[in-house]
Symmetry: C2
Subunit: 287 residues, 2 copies
């Protein structure tokens, strides 16, 4: 084994989907003196942000190539981050390795996160250590309580709690983890369209009177080391434009990307951001 | 009491929301020799279809007016039918009667169907007999099995069953009862936007390969005498345009409006329509 003083932190492999998170992780790891290697998922990863780091591009279905790249580049720790849209079987063009994996599980019954879990399990079987994004960027996780200067009123809290219950129920079925609730009414449910799209849609169905709340949760069975639901600056802006009054997040079960900026933006717009535990007292840690 | 030969069937009161169903009920009742009186819900009911029958228009919030109209017109049997969009409290402008009712329940926590249940209960408390639309138009209810000439293949059946599970879970939370599933992936979930809107949206997220399935269920706690989820000709057309291969309906827990025409259209488009029981063997009868 290498002496710790020569190599204090093992190299970090980043399997990168869409959004800002993968580049944030790469930057945070490097700042902490850690070498990184990035596998950019073709059609998902943001090339412009990631080309500053050693990288290779691979299709989601190219399991052998991804595993080889991680091994050749000596990445023992691997983090999966960023949005990945599950393609159809044919669009995925699985290599022999991916095909074998998919056969084992059966593509037919594979939910949205099932694919991610599969990749995570395979990495561990191959001897890699799966690391959660929140272990690299420790301010990603959402704590309990009001995060900014604005607090929800009674109606907003009722809506937030109702939405959290609905979102958790959705999660049980391995579908979306978000919804918009206004005055007790669920205006929109998130499937695979993504949070921003759902928020925009909700504006068409809003009622008169006080605005609604965006609620994000995670699935009860969600592996926290895989991609947790995340919000960022865009989410706050979209929510504001849709007439929402705030955002409620499952404490410990969701992430905020660019926390300081997100809270400052919400404050400026007069919106609240709150971390809530489940009705049964659970947070996203599954304890 | 009036002699049966003079008045074989008591007059039917129809509280009419949107869509084609209220007029179908009025016509079927009249054909059966039954007098009807219609309360057209302002902003919801289809005036053109209903003005052929004795009627009055009332706001959804005008509970006293609705009850008085039913009583004055000697309607002992009352059916609630057609889509009703729950307005905000202020837009509803409740009269004293409706306000009293709403106070009792609390507007805050009132889900989408909560309002309908409330109206149903109040009618019964006032001595009316609540009748289900399927008791007037007996071919509305969906039986088990393939209804047309086209049968779902294995993938479509897997999608249909998955969707039924998801839709029932949604129903537990008193939110929508529909979803679109393609190759195991839930493309869209229905909240209050309505089935047609959800189906149109799903087309944006469809994957390559075989098309998906529209699934409609009812809520486990749904009172069958109140408005059950329904599909009609428009639904079939929208589903076809969105690239879906068929429609799966909870047997006994959903309705088809214009059954013969709907099946003929589906056959012509090469689409299947199937009535399914729940995974646990239950149908919508709650037995």
């Amino acid at each position: 084994m290498t002496a710790p003083q020569d190599n204090p932190l093992p190299k970090l492999g980043i399997i990168a989907g869409g959004g800002a998170l993968p580049a944030r992780l790469a930057s945070a790891a490097q700042t902490a003196g850690r070498a990184v290697f990035v596998v950019k998922l073709d059609g998902h990863a943001n090339d412009a942000d990631l080309d500053a780091y050693p990288n290779v591009t691979a299709r989601l279905g190219a399991a052998a190539k991804i595993l080889d790249a991680m091994r050749t580049n000596d990445c023992r720790d691997v983090v999966l981050a960023g949005k990945v849209k599950r393609p159809s079987f044919s669009a995925m063009r699985p290599d022999w390795r991916a095909a074998k994996l998919l056969m084992k599980v059966g593509m037919k019954a594979l939910g949205d996160d099932g694919l991610l879990r599969l990749v995570g399990e395979e990495l561990e079987r191959e001897g890699f250590r799966l690391v959660g994004a929140h272990e690299i960027l420790t301010d990603l996780a959402v704590p309990e309580g009001v995060l900014g200067k604005v607090s929800p009123d009674d109606q907003a809290m009722t809506d937030a709690k109702h939405g959290l219950g609905v979102a958790r129920i959705l999660g049980q079925a391995d579908v979306g983890q978000g919804c918009v609730v206004q005055q007790g009414l669920v205006l929109a449910l998130e499937a695979i369209e993504g949070t921003d799209e759902m928020v925009r849609r909700s504006a068409q169905y809003r009622r008169d009177g006080v605005g609604g709340v965006l609620v994000k949760s995670s699935k009860p069975q969600q592996d926290k080391r895989l991609d947790l639901p995340a919000i960022g600056l865009t989410t706050v802006d979209e929510a504001h434009q849709a007439g929402l009054r705030g955002i409620a997040l499952l404490a410990g079960g969701t992430m905020i990307i660019d926390r300081e900026a997100v809270i400052a933006r919400a404050d400026a717009l007069g919106m609240f951001i709150i971390g809530l535990r489940d009705a049964d007292g659970k947070d996203g840690h599954g304890v």
